[in-house]
Subunit: 478 residues, 2 copies
């Protein structure tokens, strides 16, 4: 029996037809060997342990265990019991006894943890190169940075090693690497997924994010993982609903032309225009919105208060182990050491001022469509400008959690130079279903293959929650 | 023509019958002279200026100007154009060119600013004695502290010098002095009244509060002043509705008996029991709620983050003019100088943890009824224990703004020792109308006279928004 594609519906069709989890575990390890990228995983599950877990799943029963037999990877700032958590800082490593809440929920739904993945140290960065371990290779183009901070999780997914992977997202860590690796990256509404068992970056802004090969798969994982958790003070009840038939005419905010930033990357600008044309073709209405105040919000994230919050999260360790940090991370955190409580409040006030300014803009549309990243950078670019290019990558991501919005990055096509193109849909907290529905339309419309695998998008009526009316028509476009 | 009582309906009846604003202005100054308390006002309006303003009001027309000809006082941390703002710190004083937003709205509705009132310096304190000016005398008992920080505003109202007064409330400054002076003190939902033109204490928690002789009057002022203000980043749209007939059976949370704190004041405990009996007699259902976590929230206010926020509000002035501060205030602010941004975030996290814990308790009732203050303190008590007794006064107030609740302090009776008794009703943000409706029932049921004036509670059907069914029956009790 040939190994199927790793999207969930293909795997479940495989299992329904008698395929075994053991053969999929073999396929996972075969792919890891084939990909030969020592930067992806910081820890791998033992094959024996996985086979035991597979046995414990019992008979294939996706209605009871919606992620039955699905392999996934976990960013190494999220606890998996019995695997070290490093945050890509070996001296910080510890061995957790219990799973992070989201990991536990996914395991209970039948998913199998393949391993822990590399990241920008302490989830600070959007590039994926700020790690003492080998840098994961961008799955689409090894010259490019993989994106971060959830670099390993994105690459593992794009390479077809796992069906999905958990990341985290404070500044864009769940969206940028998706955009740079031709996969889907969902950053849920803050509080939807518990951060219990996750090493904080900025506790007030952190969320667990989901990478997958398809939009349907992102939503299936979200449905399992989105649970109010009394052990996480920032947890909220965010219902996993609203995914299905996209409303026929959405009002979609896009940055006013004069406010769009691509840092000279005309190809990315063109790719964005093509994506917007796709939205128009789908029947939606685009509205240009001034973006200056969104950029001001974005700039807050690396000034004052929230850098101090990152520092606060690891203060005791940093104060005694500064030399253990990656040089760039050390520089960023060190700059926050002297910040006062007054500085923190100044940041909170500045944010509140800007929130009031952008509130009417946000209220004027159903959702926003922005480029995921303004441009691509090579590893050489980052060697030359390790901080500036990182900041630029966050142009369209940094403001999102500060404004309590949800987002999903979705591939839109392949640029003329072969690099991936991606847009991100953004909406106020709680509209995860709406953004995800539209993301599904876009991904289907793109006709793209999945990640770097060459696998086709599945054409299925497999999920009760998807209204597949019109599916074939759209998919044929690709 | 004899001068009427200063509640708004009595004053408006006086004007409707041909009484003049000039005669009321004369009565105001006559009362100021009679009261002979140099601690109440830090600045008084000129009589000539008030008479000019009275002329400018035009003919009596309360439907256009709902506060036509109503004298009021303004706490001296709120700007009134042309009157110095001191915050009870003479070296800090400045002369504002424009009114604070709330002052402007009240003037536009026909109200007349009589003067600026004394306070605990920079609104830090619940006692009223932390001022370099003479301490305002408690209107009911000159041995007692007047309560603060809005000491002068409360006493001016209780003495019948003005119909109402503005205070501010961060920790309880709009409730404690109401409770200690036999008047009504409303602390609206955060953001309902603009803080534009108000010297911040804790910007994230501050609100402008309203003192008045009757509950109806508090609500009339609230209706005028509650306006979304784009110049205040913390302003919200809080509709001034829900005031009227109280629902017949409310579920009212009260601190579990074992959690009630009166610091040995058995008379206050008895007064509180009598107030609860009054609620039962009104047909409502009392539910005991564990209060330990509310007290933990209260303690946060004078630890770490929010003390630092007070310091941050006047940092530049404090750092260069420490000697200008009241000794107790200086000690409190000075303790916050060294706090780091990490400390600030630790406070925010601790609050978030507690918010999650008390959320189900808050959701389990319609509103809460707590003592306004746990006990009374004399000025001699405060000389002996300037910080501890202040903290104890805040037992039932300090947690309220941190939990984004609204509140109203209302007199319930006179203790056996002649000191005033008061309870405070608390509810989640936006339920101002509900708490105020019940406060009106309680005040009427008490049959108390107004403040220290001896004036009877008005028995009127003067307001379209009040359903006066049953009024006479209840008022007869007094």
């Amino acid at each position: 029996m040939t190994s199927p594609a790793f999207d969930i519906s293909s795997l479940h069709a495989f299992y329904a037809n008698g395929g075994t989890v053991a053969s999929i575990i073999e396929a996972v390890f075969a792919r890891i060997a084939e990909v030969r990228d020592p930067g992806i995983f910081l820890h791998l599950a033992g094959k024996e342990s996985l086979l035991e877990q597979a046995t414990a799943l019992g008979a294939f029963n996706p209605s009871v265990k919606p992620l039955w037999g699905i392999p996934f990877a976990v960013k190494d700032n999220i606890d998996v019991a019995g695997m070290p958590t490093t945050a890509a800082c070996p001296d910080y490593a510890y061995m957790p006894d219990i799973d992070a809440t989201v990991v536990r929920l996914l395991k209970e739904a039948g998913a199998l943890v393949i391993g822990k993945t590399n990241l920008d140290q302490f989830a600070t960065g959007l590039v994926g190169v700020r790690t003492p371990y080998p840098v994961p290779r961008n799955a689409m183009d090894a010259d490019l940075v993989p994106g971060g901070s959830s670099s390993g999780s994105a690459v593992a997914t794009a390479q077809g090693i796992v069906s999905f992977a958990l990341g985290t997202d404070t500044a864009g860590s769940g969206r940028i690497p998706a955009g740079l690796n031709n996969i889907v990256g969902m950053k849920p509404s803050l509080g939807a997924l518990s951060t219990n068992g996750v090493i904080p970056a900025c506790r007030t802004l952190d969320c667990v994010s989901i990478f997958a090969l398809t939009v349907n798969d992102v939503w299936r994982v979200f449905e399992v993982a989105a649970r109010r958790d009394a052990t996480d003070a920032y947890s909220k009840t965010i219902p996993a609903d609203g995914f299905g038939q996209t409303p026929p005419v959405l009002t979609i905010g896009v940055p006013a032309k004069a406010d769009r930033l691509f840092f000279g990357d005309a190809v990315m600008e063109m790719a964005y225009d093509v994506a917007l044309q796709m939205l128009t073709n789908l029947g939606h209405r685009l509205v240009e919105v001034p973006f200056g105040d969104f950029y001001k919000v974005a700039n807050l994230l690396y000034e004052g208060a929230w850098v101090a919050e990152r520092y606060a999260a690891v203060k005791d360790f940093f104060d005694t182990n500064e030399a253990s940090f990656h040089p760039v991370t050390r520089k960023i955190y060190g700059g926050a050491k002297q910040l006062s409580a007054a500085d923190a409040f100044r940041g909170l006030y500045a944010l509140q001022d800007l929130k009031q300014k952008v509130a009417p803009l946000i209220a004027s549309v159903d959702l926003f469509c922005v480029p995921t990243a303004p441009t691509h950078y090579t590893r050489a670019d980052l060697d030359a400008e390790p901080i500036r290019e990182n900041s630029r990558l966050g142009t369209y991501t940094n403001f999102v959690n500060l404004l309590d919005m949800c987002g999903i990055a979705v591939p839109t096509g392949t640029r003329s130079d072969g690099r991936p193109a991606s847009i991100t849909l953004l909406a106020p907290s709680g509209r995860d279903g709406l953004t995800t529905s539209l993301a599904r339309d876009i991904h289907r419309g793109s006709g793209l293959t999945l990640g770097a695998t060459g696998w086709l998008q599945p054409i299925t009526k497999d999920t009760s929650f998807v209204d597949d009316v019109g599916l074939i028509d759209i998919a044929v476009v690709g």
